[in-house]
Symmetry: C2
DNA sequence: CTGCAAGTTGAAGTCCACTTCAACTCAAGG
DNA sequence: CCTTGAGTTGAAGTGGACTTCAACTTGCAG
């Protein structure tokens, strides 16, 4: 059968738009051979890389970090199952942390739904210093504002 | 004491930058009175609104959706505890769904770490149609690409 | 050989949630 | 009154992850 895939085929099989695949290539996340006429031809292994990229994005990892992870794959040999497992398990910890924080947020929200107060100094909901924001520019889940600064005191005792 | 807050005071107490507060105001998420000299003065209730905004963002809600939610608060009277509880409980369901999906992703990732395969058609990891992406432009957690399209078949049986 | 879908490029545009800037004006303590 | 820190505006910039566009070129079925 086909040894290599056109960009359209890779797009169809991965669900990732051709423009995104070209973008990934520019960032160094995937690679492609070229035909005589300069068209991209993807080895089947790239399908696995694209899968890894999309899964990583679901975990909340930035493309830059994904690139770094993919770069850590051995260049000399075809990556083994163990290689991929190593990458995945690193993400697993991120995922655990995310789940932990969201669960905490949910439980706290429950408390605040109960009292309806939103008096956030009384409950632990608006808890600076333990947010979903990762460190650094990448890997942000939700909070755009990095949890830096002098511990905001949002607590309302409204009129 | 102070009946109203300057933008600096609201910023300090909420941990949200003044520029962000002005931005929120432009989007219609908060309101402010003006002094004779055109400076903003915030009623204490705005502190509660800002708290709600930040919490909602942690749940992964877009500012536009938050605006819609805040708009549903009664304009005629001061919102009660029950009003806030109603808004919060709507988010609670979002949060539950998010946690469910992330947990599923984690468990699936576990399976794939076990076999190291990343053969995503064999495991359920790369599961189109049940992703973290919400519907519509808002509320995206991680997946930028809305899960539309003809069910991408990312499964690798590499060489 | 031809026609046309699929591919190519660099540059520019989009969306979200803000931040930064320049050029002013206000408010309040001394 | 004067100074100084805090506040005002609109416009433009940022960053991440792409998409869109125009203008061409390839590859392949018929």
């Amino acid at each position: 059968m086909h040894e290599s895939l056109t960009i359209g085929q890779l797009s169809d099989r991965s669900g990732v738009a051709p423009s995104a695949l070209r973008y990934y290539e520019r960032l160094g996340l995937i690679r492609a051979e070229r035909t005589g006429g300069n068209q991209r031809r993807y080895a089947r292994i790239e399908l696995r890389r694209v899968a890894f990229i999309r899964i990583s994005q679901q975990v909340g990892i930035s493309l830059e970090e994904i690139r770094a992870a993919l770069d850590s794959l051995p260049a000399s040999r075809t990556p083994t199952a163990a290689d991929w497992a190593r990458l995945s398990s690193a993400w697993r910890q991120r995922l655990d942390e995310r789940i932990r924080l969201m669960t905490k947020l949910r439980d706290d929200l429950d408390g605040c739904i109960g009292c309806g107060c939103l008096s956030l100094d009384r409950c632990t909901l608006y808890n600076p210093g333990d947010t979903l924001a990762g460190e650094g520019p990448g890997a942000r889940l939700v909070l755009p504002r990095s949890a830096a600064g002098p511990a905001p005191e949002v607590g309302v005792s409204p009129s």
